[in-house]
Symmetry: C2
Subunit: 185 residues, 2 copies
């Protein structure tokens, strides 16, 4: 399909084409995303991302992505990469931004710039197994968006609500998502 | 503190030293992790990670980390990086692995190799705003660990349970974590 009208770097024609195709055949919207991880040493490990499933077939990225996670020295690592909970903020930031940009494009709202800052509270007594009374995960995550566009303050608030409403990572984190962890047979 | 005994690449003496320090002064375990994101174009955006707060002071990583997220062409991007929901799997994989490795070290269990593969089901009708009846986030995430160590199958299952029990990202995803999204004033 031709690019056609492009807004915020998103082909609006392709976006509406995708929406129409999914309405006709909802099964093509069922995706499976995948990752593999290999432990290296201590708090250092590497995730690789290559293939996924969608539109009823196996698909691959143009190249394999490799992401290293580590811990800072204070948490007994060597600081060779962001730590896992910082990757969680990265996922949330990227997803909310993309959700805002795509849905603004669909609504005809032009964005000049979007920046986000995120902060999450984590009490390490959970991870360390010291207390059962504190949450092991983030207690709270706050996301603040700076939006440059010809819109009112109310519309900026609406853009933030819209970003959250349609963001898969926002929902994965803010709802209780079932995760099973087991040995590979 | 000296490295002392090291198991799985983790200084066990430092780990128990940290646990003892936190037991005496629980406030030092209250961390704040942070990320900044800048939208580039369409589904492409860049997260930077530099500073955090812990042990009652502001801290910085040895260097600033930059992570680009994008979408594959099928989802109207140019595939310049993993997409946001793949970053979420990366966070989960890295966190479960580190949780397993650190807690195994604390228990005196030597690990030779740990690999994980993850898969999550995502119905894009949520993101596209086509149906209110499907979850917008991951419906389900499955994590499979291949563990090479001198332990029984039961102990491998116990290592998986332990990894989940102490993993901040596992809890952030599998519990309902409050996330606020608002304009930056």
């Amino acid at each position: 399909m031709a690019e056609g009208k492009v807004l915020n770097g998103v082909s609006v024609d392709k976006l509406f084409g995708t929406i129409d195709a999914v309405k006709e055949a909802p099964g093509i919207a069922k995706f499976k995303f995948r990752a593999k991880n290999k432990w290296i040493k201590g708090g250092l490990n590497r995730t690789t991302i290559k293939d996924f499933y969608g539109t009823q077939k196996d698909l691959t990225h143009k190249k394999q992505f490799e992401l290293e996670a580590d811990e800072p020295p204070l948490l007994l690592g060597e600081d060779k990469g962001p730590n896992p909970v910082e990757y969680a903020l990265t996922a949330l930031a990227a997803c909310l931004t993309t959700s805002m940009v795509y849905h603004a494009a669909a609504k005809g709202i032009e964005l000049r710039a979007v920046e986000a800052r995120l902060e999450g509270d984590l009490d390490l007594r959970g991870f360390l197994g010291i207390s059962e009374d504190v949450p092991v995960g983030y207690e709270n995550i706050r996301v603040y968006f700076k939006i440059d566009a010809d819109v009112s303050e109310e519309q900026k608030e609406e853009l933030c609500r819209m970003a959250a409403k349609y963001s898969p990572v926002f929902h994965t984190i803010s709802n209780a998502t079932p995760v099973s962890v087991q040995p590979d047979k």
